[in-house]
Subunit: 322 residues, 2 copies
């Protein structure tokens, strides 16, 4: 992985992915005690940053492979990103999703033209299942994070953060990123290293699923004990990736861990102060910025709100915290 792969992905995404805005509010600055900027990646096509990686992978594939179709496994956001990118290319897509994924994500993935195969998150190995179907049907597997084309696509979000924050006069900042397998975090870290040397990426996770924070601390890949039972479903993965972890270990600051209640409260504040819809897993970085500001010495915080695909009952639960 290198910055040139991210710049190449940015060229392929130009005119197809949205350049999402960098938002702020004096009310949020007051809570954190310092300026907070929010990269509203929930406004990306399909409601999360995952469209960047999906489009980058589809457009980066050998054309013959692309025509044969693609397969992906995902709790929902990667699913929709890949499904929409495949639909726009007119190629088939099979998506392996956990049976407990939010209904909205499953329905949207189907509506975007993909064939959805459900599996049990607690008892089945999604990697093995994905490999099997890919072999049987001759589909190309697009992994959710441990894939260079995907990391490159997610990294384009970091290029935009670097350019837009510096255009607003921000020269030093910690960039808080909601982190599952580390595709977005490692891509952003590489982009910041090249284009914003005063910015440091910080992976953010929910309590009980802090594999990346522990891995960064121990210096080797650590696993989560469990993979279910969190409202932050979007960013629950077994462990950081073989490709993403070394990048995060080299470039990222320490991980920040927040409670589920803090994630819900951050989603409510994003509703109230920024007018954006953020799912609990997508609000973890904003929760870290607002409620753990002392985890950072940086004079500015930038939080990536990574996705907004949340069922209405969960969102109503978040609003009830206001």
């Amino acid at each position: 992985m290198n910055i040139e792969m991210i710049r190449a992905a940015a060229a392929r995404l130009e005119g197809h992915a949205r350049r999402t805005p960098l938002l702020n509010s004096p009310f949020l600055d007051e809570i954190a005690g310092k300026p907070v900027f929010v990269k509203a990646e929930c406004l990306q096509h399909t409601g999360s940053f995952k469209f960047r990686g999906g489009w980058s992978a589809l457009t980066g594939l050998d054309p013959a492979k692309r025509t044969g179709g693609v397969i992906a496994f995902s709790s929902g956001n990667h699913a929709q990103g890949v499904a929409y990118a495949a639909q726009m290319h007119g190629v088939p897509a099979v998506i392996i999703m956990p049976s407990d994924a939010p209904k909205l994500k499953i329905e949207n993935t189907r509506a975007l033209g993909a064939e959805v195969v459900l599996y049990d998150r607690a008892s089945e190995d999604r990697d093995a299942l994905g490999d099997k179907i890919a072999r049987e049907r001759g589909l190309t597997l697009i992994k959710p994070y441990d894939e260079p084309l995907v990391i490159a696509g997610q990294g384009t979000c970091g290029l935009e953060i670097a350019a837009d924050a510096q255009a607003q006069g921000v020269e030093n900042a910690d960039v808080y990123v909601c982190c599952g397998g580390g595709g977005l975090t490692s891509g952003i870290a590489l982009a910041l290293e090249a284009d914003a040397p005063g910015f440091t990426a910080r992976p953010c996770e929910p309590e009980g699923f802090d594999d990346v924070a522990r891995s960064l601390k121990s210096g080797k890949i650590e696993h989560n004990d469990k993979l279910t039972g969190s409202l932050c479903d979007a960013i629950i993965t077994p462990a950081p990736g073989e490709l993403t972890f070394p990048i995060m270990h080299r470039l990222c600051g320490a991980g920040v861990v927040v409670s589920e209640a803090e994630a819900l409260k951050a989603a409510a504040l994003a509703y109230q102060r920024l007018k954006i819809v953020v799912e609990p897993g997508g609000a973890v970085a904003l929760a870290a910025a607002l409620f753990h500001p002392n985890a950072s010495d940086a004079p500015n915080l930038i939080a990536v709100c990574t996705g907004g695909n949340v069922d209405a009952d969960i969102f109503a639960q978040a609003l009830s915290t206001l």
Copy 2:
């Protein structure tokens, strides 16, 4: 009013107002049966397009007048736009608000440094009250719509719609605008006349408060029978303005009227498909685009989602329609 005043306002707003994104979703296109684009003006500073007019007015005032302070009357969005613009200029602001305005709008206006004076919407004349306080304290009144500097500021939204939609290949469109007194609608209409001759502005209103639609039909200013009792509080005004009506009469297509239930459903779909928070009054244009597509012969519809300052209980009510 002319296009040069709008271009001058755009120069004053550059780097201060947000260039809000033009969003879309295949799911919304399917409902309307044609492409629908959404100008997400709820993402503007203070959560509505009104910051444009407020900033335009503050920066366009004679410096001596500006230093003496400003006064505005508003159900909430103009209040916040003017209050924030005044705070950023370090000048005092008094805001006259109806006592039944959403709590969030009243609280935000105070938090942005303004002095709030409440009045009874059914029994008191806000114009007379505003004039009185302005005279007593030597404040400059910034009217919510019938003021050239304000119309010019709102018109900058139309310049962005023209540029961004045409950049996406849209050459012919009806531009649906949530319409109260007509400041935004007339400003957008002037901008489209200059920069997007294939685009036509269409004022959109809630049932029972369709003064603009009736005025356009009769060719003279018509009034609403009542001024209370709508969830679409943001766009309830007595009648189109003396300045705004002739512009709308010359340039706009017929008005489109939607039910309150349609506005709530449109707010829910904006949540689900675009990940933006829209208040009922700010969702009226999207409701017109989605549920009254046959009101337009245009091949493309562009809806301006004008604001997102909605109390959580009302938003939860909108979500319950999904």
